[in-house]
């Protein structure tokens, strides 16, 4: 698995390079509300935008402000520097105010070859589902027109099935994580997701099969506590790895660079329209605080994970200036504490090494508080 972890830490991994060398196109996307099946059905590689712990923001700060989240500033910085020049375009969405600003500036700076804005409603009522299904069709048309291709319903259903298989395999990995003696560390699972969201789905699927096979008898025994991590968008593998050195193994997560990208996202056989089915999968199962009237479902997701993974304590992070998670984490904390589950909430700056020491101290204290 070392090769996968190494590839996951590269912005442009070897599989992606090889894909491009063969003339393959790559489309970036920024949010887990984006149905990657549409991109893949067009024969294009979907690539989740990331910053991989890069804390440089000097170019981005000429556009975004210090009141915008550092994850978005770091991603934009990479874009402005040219590190994302391998992208053939971007599908953006209204995930949060910071992401919207990030993409507007990226586009304004003339660094996007193609840009389509997927408009994701904030509710899951029937009217919103109708709107989103139509918006997915518009997104599909935009890809078809720009890349001069046609995406058939059959191709879409095929990719919906492919993603279904992938999600089932990730689910297996999460079950292996939930075991009494977990088969994976939290940082490893985040690495797998980063790899998976930057390679062709065939490569990703075979990687998951290999990983499941390799780890089927693997057991992590020497840990102090079982933790669930959740909160704002982050891809800081090294941060989680450092925290896990304290002895708290992250057996579950609700990150969008993690469980939120696949949890419950399985097709049902009720729809004959693939775009409508994608709307259902991606909007109805979008466990993100940018959604409203959905708090009880978010809470239930966390509670279910806590139960399945036998979690001892929950650590909720939010990136500085992330209002969505900053508020939602407090709601979740209050709800979990009512159930007797210990919770620690932390506000952090994305990829600030200077923050690491104080976080380790606070998590160490949290482990002691929960008697571990």
């Amino acid at each position: 698995m070392e090769d996968i972890f190494a590839q996951a830490q590269k912005l442009e991994n070897d599989y992606l390079k090889s894909w491009r060398e063969k003339g393959g196109k790559v489309l970036g996307y920024i949010c887990v509300a984006t149905p990657v099946e549409i991109i893949e059905a067009g024969g294009i590689l979907p690539y989740r935008i990331r910053a991989l712990g890069s804390s440089e923001t000097e170019l981005a700060d000429a556009y975004l402000s210090r009141f915008n989240c550092a994850f978005c500033r770091s991603c934009l910085n990479l874009g402005l520097k040219g590190d994302y020049d391998f992208l053939d375009g971007m599908i953006s969405s209204n995930g949060c105010d910071h992401l919207r600003g990030m993409v507007e500036n990226w586009n304004y700076a003339g660094k996007l070859k193609f840009h389509h804005y997927l408009k994701v409603p904030h509710l899951t009522d029937p009217e919103s589902m109708d709107f989103f299904a139509e918006d997915i069709k518009i997104c599909k048309q935009a890809i078809e027109e720009h890349f001069d291709l046609t995406i058939s319903d059959d191709q879409l259903w095929e990719k919906i099935s492919a993603q279904k298989r992938i999600r089932e395999k990730i689910q297996t990995i999460y079950q292996m994580r939930f075991q009494e003696e977990p088969a994976f560390y939290g940082w490893e699972v985040m690495s797998l997701y980063l790899f998976l969201s930057a390679v062709p789905s065939e490569v990703g699927e075979s990687m998951l099969e290999r990983v499941i096979e390799e780890r089927k008898n693997y057991q992590i025994k020497d840990y102090r506590a079982r933790l669930l991590f959740g909160g704002s968008a982050t891809d800081e593998v090294s941060f989680i790895k450092e925290i896990e050195t304290l002895g708290g193994v992250v057996v579950a997560d609700t990150f969008c660079f993690g469980a939120r990208a696949f949890w419950n996202r399985q097709p049902q056989s009720s729809s004959s329209d693939p775009c409508r089915e994608l709307a259902r999968i991606y909007l109805e199962e979008l466990f993100c605080p940018r959604m409203f009237e959905e708090f009880s479902r978010r809470k239930e997701l966390v509670l279910k994970m806590i139960e399945q993974a036998k979690v001892d304590g929950v650590v909720l992070f939010h990136n500085k200036f992330c209002d969505l998670h900053g508020v939602d984490n407090v709601q979740i904390k209050i709800a979990l504490e009512k159930e007797g589950i210990p919770v620690l909430t932390l506000e952090k700056e994305y990829s600030a090494r200077a923050d690491l020491g104080r976080f380790k101290t606070r998590i160490q204290a949290f482990l002691e508080r929960i008697g571990k």
Binding site: C72, H122, F292, L324, T345
Partner: protein, 459 residues
């Protein structure tokens, strides 16, 4: 649960104060207001807040607005006593819709916070601290978190429901309203916006709007008839006419519109638009402005700079910003919250009126600009339009720390305004409702330096 303090809530304190304002005749209110302000025997907070309304520069508009807000607040209290529903809304929601119900009264989070900052000792800080005590992040917006903090942590009056029109326009606004609704178990209704500027997005907005109307009718237990809507819409149309009359007066140089009128205009929009009190208040502003325009005093007025504020102003010291600017000869040409582009609504049918109110909701500040498909695009177009119409020498961005959406595209707006209009944009930083982040003296210094070094050399 947060342990409730024995401290009286923000709303209850305002009711106590404004009850007095409501019964004192305007002339006496004006006399005492001016006397207290000029004698400087009251606290700096009063001088910068409520006292600022009675500054001679504001002419006789101070009592008009004190009474308008007192009617609005006491109206909510009376509605509650009579068993009517009090609906808490954010500033970007058209209150006229709630006023159309016989059995409901709107309260606006951001206006309550602003009134607390203007009227109460310690301003809104004790209530902000109550929200922080729950662990809520300090990068939330004080505009609504002051009021909502009071609901969370003090002995206050609870609304019967919350309507949120934040989703799509502002994460911070949307989330804090959701949090309070969940925490206090108050019914919560939504008017979200999808950032889609074609007809499809607008149609979807009407779908949401009509659904909200049905939900409110059911919750309030009252049908919104054509007659009820007609009453409110006719007054709202009169407010629209008066708004544009003031806008035209603002185009004159020097501007005859006192600086504080910027706040008063959207004060009406966010509280009493479509009510007799709202119409009277705007009529008073027009009348006062015209009277001043024809006075010898106006002929001697020196205008050194015409400043359009691009988003919000600062509210923790009205005297220190609005009146101080006027004393320096810096005209405040309104801010982004004045850019709600009201249009007269067709009154021929219930459907036409509801569609007209939906259109006004779509055009409310923030919703229209940063809730648009392009935050930078829509905001910039509005700022450029207003700056051009009002012949602004510059634009000033207040840089309220919580406005992540405007902060994320201010660089684009600044570049476009400079490129297309050739006017500079001053970018400030501070909390518009809490003084401890940037003192008003620092803001004044920055504006002064900007005008003297950048504007004066151009004019």
């Amino acid at each position: 649960m947060l342990k409730r303090t024995i401290q009286k809530g923000l709303f209850r304190r305002l009711v106590l104060q404004l009850r007095l304002v409501n019964i004192v005749p305007s002339s006496i209110l004006n006399f005492f207001g001016r006397a207290l302000s000029s004698l400087k025997i009251v606290s700096e907070e009063f001088q910068g807040g409520a006292g600022a309304l009675f500054n001679p520069l504001v002419r006789d508009a101070g009592p008009v607005f004190s009474k308008l807000f007192s009617r609005w607040i006491l109206g909510a209290w009376e509605a509650h006593q009579q068993g009517k529903k009090v609906i808490l809304v954010p500033f970007n929601f058209p209150v006229d819709l709630i006023h159309a119900f016989d059995n409901a009264h709107p309260l606006t989070s951001e206006v309550l916070s602003t009134l607390a900052v203007i009227n109460l000792s310690q301003q809104g800080e004790p209530y902000w601290d109550m929200a922080m005590a729950l662990g809520l992040p300090d990068h939330l917006c004080s505009a609504n978190t002051i009021e909502l903090g009071s609901l969370l942590g003090s002995d206050d009056f609870y609304p019967d429901a919350i309507v949120s029109s934040g989703p799509g326009g502002c994460d911070a606004n949307a989330k804090i309203h959701e949090f309070v609704a969940n925490y206090l178990n108050i019914p919560h209704f939504f008017l979200p916006k999808v950032p889609e500027n074609s007809g499809r997005g607008r149609r979807q907005y009407s779908v949401y709007f009509n659904k909200l109307v049905s939900q409110l009718e059911e919750f309030i237990g009252e049908e919104l008839t054509e007659e009820k809507l007609g009453r409110v819409v006719e007054r709202a149309n009169r407010c629209t006419q008066l708004y544009w009359e003031l806008f035209d007066l603002q185009k004159l140089s020097p501007s005859p519109v006192p600086n504080l009128f910027s706040l008063f205009i959207y004060g009406v929009r966010f509280t009493m638009w479509g009510t007799p009190e709202g119409v009277e208040a705007l009529e008073a502003l027009v009348e006062i402005t015209k009277k001043y325009l024809n006075s010898p005093e106006y002929k001697n007025k020196v205008e050194r700079a015409r400043c359009l504020w691009a988003y919000t102003s600062y509210y923790y010291d009205l005297a220190g910003l609005f009146n101080w600017m006027e004393e320096q000869g810096y005209s405040h040409l309104g801010d982004g919250l004045d850019l709600f582009f009201p249009q007269e609504i067709d009154t021929t049918s219930r459907e036409a009126m509801l569609e007209g109110i939906a259109e006004s909701a779509w055009n409310m500040p923030m919703t229209r600009q940063v809730g648009a498909e392009s935050m930078a695009g829509s905001w910039t177009e509005d700022v450029i339009w207003a700056a051009r119409e009002l012949r602004a020498d510059c634009a000033i961005y207040c840089g309220h720390h919580s406005c992540k959406q405007t902060w994320s595209v201010i660089s684009i707006m600044r570049r476009e305004v400079m490129k297309r209009l050739g006017i500079p944009v001053l970018v400030l930083q501070g909390d518009a409702w809490i003084k401890k982040m940037t003192p008003i003296s620092v803001i004044q210094q920055q504006i002064d330096e900007f005008v003297q070094n950048v504007i004066a050399s151009k004019v």
